[in-house]
């Protein structure tokens, strides 16, 4: 597996050097930092990865089948969009207005119909095998996209991978080890008391006192000859942590309260709305991969009512607000927005007026990052049950995301036991997005 991408080769060589005995971790850290600095972090494309937990009903949102019988087509009607020939659901009227900013991928397909297996498949790009222990934490068989970015990508002033507001295990680092797990914000930015752990000073310590403490610490640490590589490595994180605390820009990235009421309301005062807004702030300050997990889409009962009243309104407000805001700030070209999910839902509406799990065919959405948007890719049959054109695998999605983020998706990682594992298993970037 050889990449023709110059950046990829250098990165890989460097990582190989980093794994051997003689180079200290600290030296590796310095190399990483010089890489980040010299490649110019502002050039990097960052990703906001919105994961719809439960399974997004593709036929009710993105891939409507008005010709199908009522028990298949459901209660939603297609509406036109600014893109000629592309229609989406009337439950997403605001998103319909920004369809020209979206690429709707209608031909996702995999074989896993249990939630945890589906999370693993779509968050790591690899279907788990039977030995996945669904009840056990840190049990990924492959690193998540965010962890791959943390391990292989350039880094900025913020932790490279941040997850909010309710981390699910498939977002974990697998064999890369805990160091490449996400910085988890386990609070909802829509809550009035929202605060990010350890970013702000604890109660009782004001800025003046904090400065005094930092000065004291620096004096105690610096007087010594810190030659040991372990210490140097932690030291580099201390410097970074310190810069997060002191750099207004980095620290304030976590503070959603500085946004105007108008901006906050434009995203909607909902969990997904405020997460999207916080996500924008984080990538703006240099986070490489923000993962937003949004829950409760598992509509086994009352699918129509749930979508219409509970789920879609917040979603329909948040996504266009995010895209428009990124666009207004000139960030859309540098930000990849992905709306993913573990699978779609069954073609036929069940006795409880719900839809069940359906990984055979479903839709996800991408936007930004200079991709070719205003298009749909792939197609399903008359019942939105099977892919009939251009099947897209979860690995293809991973390859696409990593490619956009400037990471060599053809490289091979090694587990601690030495087993070679390709970053992406047989996935190819979705070429229609790069024309």
């Amino acid at each position: 597996m050889r990449s023709k991408n110059a950046r990829g080769i250098a990165r890989r060589d460097f990582l190989r050097v980093g794994t051997v005995g003689g180079l200290s971790l600290a030296e590796v850290m310095r190399l990483r930092e010089s890489c980040a600095a010299e490649s110019g972090n502002t050039d990097d494309i960052n990703c906001i990865f919105i994961f719809i937990i439960g399974g997004m009903p593709h036929q009710d949102m993105w891939d409507l089948k008005p010709e199908a019988p009522p028990e298949i087509r459901g209660d939603f009607m297609p509406i036109s969009t600014p893109v000629p020939g592309v229609q989406i659901s009337d439950v997403l009227p605001q998103i319909a207005q920004v369809t020209d900013k979206l690429a709707i991928l209608r031909s996702l397909t995999h074989s896993k119909s249990v939630h945890q297996d589906g999370y693993h498949t779509m968050m790591t790009g690899k279907e788990p095998n039977a030995s996945l222990d669904r009840n056990n934490k840190n049990n990924n068989q492959h690193p998540s996209l965010g962890s791959l970015v943390a391990r292989l990508g350039n880094q900025g002033a913020l932790p490279p991978y941040i997850s909010l507001p309710n981390f699910i295990d498939s977002g974990g680092p697998s064999f890369l080890g805990p160091s490449y797990g996400p910085f988890v914000i386990d609070a909802d930015p829509a809550a009035p008391e929202f605060e990010v752990r350890d970013i702000t000073l604890p109660v009782g310590v004001d800025a003046e006192r904090s400065l005094r403490r930092q000065a004291a610490l620096q004096q105690i640490n610096q007087l010594e000859r810190q030659v040991d590589s372990q210490i140097q490595a932690l030291d580099s994180f201390y410097q970074k942590a310190y810069s997060v605390m002191t750099s207004r820009r980095a620290k304030e990235a976590f503070n959603i309260n500085v946004e105007s009421a108008r901006t906050r309301e434009s995203y909607g005062m909902t969990s997904i709305g405020q997460c999207c807004l916080l996500g924008r702030r984080l990538v703006e300050a240099g986070c490489r991969f923000v993962s937003i997990e949004n829950g409760h889409w598992d509509t086994h009962r009352k699918n129509t009512k749930s979508l219409r009243e509970l789920l879609c309104p917040a979603f329909d407000q948040a996504i266009p607000a995010l895209l428009n805001d990124l666009s207004d700030r000139g960030m859309l070209e540098k930000t990849l927005v992905v709306v993913s999910t573990e699978f779609g839902r069954t073609p036929r509406i069940n006795d409880l007026l719900g839809r069940d799990h359906w990984p055979n065919a479903f839709s996800i959405v991408m936007a930004g990052a200079g991709l070719t948007v205003g298009q749909t890719i792939g197609a399903t049959d008359k019942q939105a049950a099977a892919v009939i054109d251009r099947p897209i695998s979860p690995a293809d999605v991973s390859a696409t995301i990593l490619k956009v983020l400037g990471i060599d998706y053809t490289q091979v990682l090694h587990t601690p036991l030495g087993r070679p594992v390709p970053v992406v298993d047989e996935g190819q970037p979705i070429s229609e997005l790069f024309v």
């Binding site: 005995g21 840190n138 109660v203 610490l217 490595a233 997060v244 601690p416 087993r419």
Partner: protein
């Protein structure tokens, strides 16, 4: 990025040999007689000069090689190529030395028939085609699947010759076969060009296809083993060494497979090796082992790069015990001068944290530092070994490796398993006895701790891996699916071992617990062929009468017997790693011939002492703690600053997650309250590894999902730094009304006494000028309570606190 590339390139350039201009007096060529036959028609030679001062110098790539008759044999540097049948000779010259070696080329006109398994499979391995990252992975690559490392040659034969309606091979025009067009990059290939057109490999493949792509003669002699030359060599920095690999066949034939073998170095900055077996040492002294694999046969070349210009500071280096003698012997060989002895305060803190996971109190530090008795270190070691925290800390260590995961085995299971482990340690029960009991455990999971080990593991295959890894240091995972690439184990070994566990039953009882028992022996089948495999322990012939009782009893006897070559070595290596920061074998639980110890006599000695002590863990701990090697300073000198392998100084390291949390609680005088645990429970005492704790998660407690030590991480992260500086939980400890600062201020200490007490508690030593200056500044210009808290905050975040030095 540019700097990175430069750095990598600079490293490569530095590997060029600079052996010229060294006076030499003798030239040796290997092999001494050369017969080029068989299919590969090439022979690598090694040319070694002896220097005037008696050292061996590889001049393989520096000498001139001339063939007397180019029609018969041509020389491409030190690689000879057969051209036609006949006899000739080559002349090798280096400096003023010369040597003539006879060469015979045979079978050129009548090459032996090509055998797929013997001749083609190694080629697919060397080119990386059947690598686990490519066509060798479980799903293959783009519809073309090979078995990883060619462990299933029949399937590979089918894949190449029969699958896809045979379109991968084109018998009429072999060069146009898809296989070759892909491999040479003539047709777009995700893996790029793997084979050069018209190379030997290319010709072998086309020759095979031209012969009709046969499987080959079933009677054709197969490889029995490989010979590697040299086995060991002392080299200089920026030196080089050609490796020669010879395959020996069942009929006694020898064939050069140097360019067909696979090489990997265990320390690439010390020595790198290229695809042709040409090894180059780097900028650092040290040791490296090159693992060589040809068709599952493994060999190793060990190289040692001593420091060149070391001072002869060897007289009078004191030794405390046999450990030190063996370490110093190695250091002499390497030209490394060890660090000085650590001071008393540093030693004490190190001893407490390493042995019992606890910081010494300020009184303990004072008492020890002021003690004048010459044998005070030895006495203190004895005192520490008798403390109950020893059992707390070591039961945590064993619970990590033995998968006492509450999520998997339930609250009751985790509790009784942890209790049982703690009892074994606390009562100093011999290690072989309790491991034997654990391997053969039968009973109720809510009453009898060790059976929970079998509840953490689902399948016989998982038990096979866990027991091999945890008690023998053998990583058998690879061998479940294919031959271990760097060890002798194959699927027969794996499933032979799995046979011990086939009958394990876990019967659910009404109270939610399980009865674990073995219902009788049953052989395992090879997944590939469905053949039954004889149940046997690794590298051990067989057991009689496995049917008569629980077969695990025989396995347990074998694992824990004195004859077992791994059992004692693994445990002493774990202990060594724990106390010295690096295993004699690294990773500490990866024992194999191709991963040699950096000090084999020492590992051997410790293992022997362990056996002779009756598998008494504490006796080995005592031996290590009393060695001067353990007590050396972490401050390095010019000769040992770069030493990572020979224990010439102590390795600085961060306190492990649980120990660090306890240390913060202790220093702040504010105990951690874990939900559902009695007040005062320390984190090293927790039996429940899933108790919510942001601190323990962030600092990397073991997930207990794998018996491999590699599962636990101590790598620093930004979240750790942020947590230590800003966490409200830690701030609450610092400012606790009943905490240390508040308490000390109430006792009306002078400022100097306060500073001294805090430094002794947090750092295990008296304040130095830097702490005194900081304290002076902080305490002089603000209210004392705040100032003292700020001072303690700075101490807790300082590297002198976080690290054991």
């Amino acid at each position: 990025m540019i700097r990175t590339i430069f750095y990598v390139v600079a490293l490569c350039i530095a590997f060029r040999a600079d052996a010229a201009e060294i006076a030499t007096n003798r030239l040796e060529v290997s092999p001494p007689e050369i017969i080029i036959g068989g299919l590969n028609r090439e022979q690598q030679i090694i040319v070694t000069a002896t220097t005037d001062d008696g050292r061996l110098l590889d001049v393989t790539h520096l000498c001139a090689v001339d063939s007397r008759d180019e029609q018969i044999c041509s020389a491409e540097g030190p690689r000879l190529l057969g051209r036609a049948d006949g006899k000739t000779s080559i002349r090798i010259s280096y400096a003023s030395l010369e040597k003539v070696v006879p060469v015979e080329v045979v079978e050129f006109d009548t090459p032996p028939p090509i055998h797929f398994q013997r001749d083609i499979i190694p080629l697919l391995s060397k080119t990386g085609c059947n690598n686990g990252g490519c066509h060798g992975k479980a799903s293959g690559q783009n519809g073309f699947k090979l078995s990883v490392f060619g462990f299933d040659p029949r399937a590979d034969f089918n894949a190449l010759v029969k699958q896809n309606r045979g379109r991968r091979l084109f018998l009429a025009v072999p060069e146009s076969s898809l296989l070759l067009r892909k491999a040479t990059g003539a047709t777009p290939h995700g893996g790029g060009r793997r084979i050069e057109p018209n190379s030997l490999d290319f010709n072998l493949l086309t020759g095979w296809i031209r012969q009709g792509a046969p499987w080959g003669d079933e009677q054709a002699p197969q490889v029995t083993h490989i010979e590697v030359e040299p086995r060991q060599r002392i080299l200089g920095m920026r030196g080089e060494q050609q490796i020669l690999v010879t395959a020996i066949y069942e009929d006694g034939a020898r064939r050069d497979v140097t360019s067909a073998a696979l090489y990997s170095s265990n320390a690439e900055t010390i020595a790198k090796v290229d695809e042709q077996g040409r090894l180059a040492t780097g900028e650092f002294p040290g040791e490296a082992a090159i693992t060589i694999n040809y068709m599952g046969h493994v060999g190793v070349t060990e190289v040692l790069i001593p420091i060149q210009n070391s001072v002869a500071a060897w007289e009078g280096i004191p030794v405390n015990n046999r450990i030190d003698e063996l370490v110093v012997a190695k250091l002499k060989k390497m030209g490394i001068v060890p660090s000085a002895l650590s001071n008393d305060a540093t030693f004490l803190r190190r001893l407490y944290v390493d042995a019992i996971g606890t910081l010494p109190t300020s009184q303990e530090v004072r008492r020890f530092v002021e003690e004048t008795q010459p044998s005070k270190r030895q006495l203190e070691i004895e005192t520490v070994l008798q403390r109950s925290e020893f059992a707390d800390y070591w039961s945590l260590k064993f619970a990590d490796v033995l998968l006492a995961d509450r999520k998997k085995i339930g609250e009751r299971g985790a509790y009784v398993f942890h209790q049982w482990l703690r009892e074994q340690i606390a009562s100093d029960r011999p290690y072989n006895e309790w491991v034997r009991e654990l391997i053969a455990a039968t009973g109720y999971s809510n009453k009898y701790g060790p059976v929970n080990f079998y509840r953490a593991l689902d399948q016989p295959e998982d038990m096979t891996k866990a027991i091999s890894q945890a008690f023998l240091g053998i990583r058998l995972d690879c061998a479940q699916c294919h031959h271990h690439p760097f060890d002798r184990w194959g699927q027969e070994d794996f499933f032979g071992m799995a046979g011990f566990f086939n009958g394990i039953e876990r019967k659910d009882l009404s109270d939610g617990s399980q009865l674990v028992f073995h219902k009788g022996h049953k052989q395992s089948k090879l997944p590939l062929t469905g053949e039954l495999v004889e149940t046997r322990a690794l590298g051990y012939d067989s057991f009689v009468n496995l049917e008569s009782s629980d077969p695990r009893i025989k396995l347990a006897d074998w694992v824990t017997s004195e004859q077992n070559p791994w059992f004692a070595r693994l445990m002493v290596n774990r202990l060594w790693k724990h106390f010295l920061g690096r295993g004699l074998v690294e990773p500490e639980d990866d024992l194999r011939a191709t991963n040699p110890a950096t000090n084999e006599p020492l590992l051997e000695y410790l293992a022997q002492q362990f056996v002779e002590s009756g598998y008494d863990i504490k006796s080995i701990v005592r031996l290590i703690l009393n060695s001067r090697t353990y007590q050396l300073s972490s401050e390095t000198n010019d000769s040992n600053a770069g030493d990572q392998q020979n224990f010439s100084h102590y390795f600085v390291r961060r306190m492990p997650a649980e120990v660090l949390l306890d240390a913060i609680s202790e220093v702040t005088g504010s105990a951690e309250q874990f939900p559902g645990m009695p007040p005062g429970t320390r984190s090293v005492q927790l039996w429940d590894n899933r108790l919510p704790s942001y601190f323990l998660d962030t600092f990397g407690r073991s997930p207990r999902t794998s018996p491999c030590e590699c599962a636990k991480s101590s790598e620093p992260t930004m979240s750790q730094a942020l947590h230590l500086m800003n966490a409200p939980e830690i701030e609450a400890k610092i400012s606790d009304e009943r905490g240390r600062v508040a308490l000390l201020l109430r006792t009306k200490l002078s400022r100097d006494e306060l500073v001294e007490e805090l430094c002794l508690t947090a750092l295990g030593r008296l304040p130095e000028s830097k702490e005194l200056e900081v304290a002076e500044r902080l305490l002089s210009d603000q209210p004392t309570r705040h100032a003292a808290e700020d001072f303690l905050w700075a101490l807790l975040n300082s590297y002198d606190f976080l690290f054991i030095k």
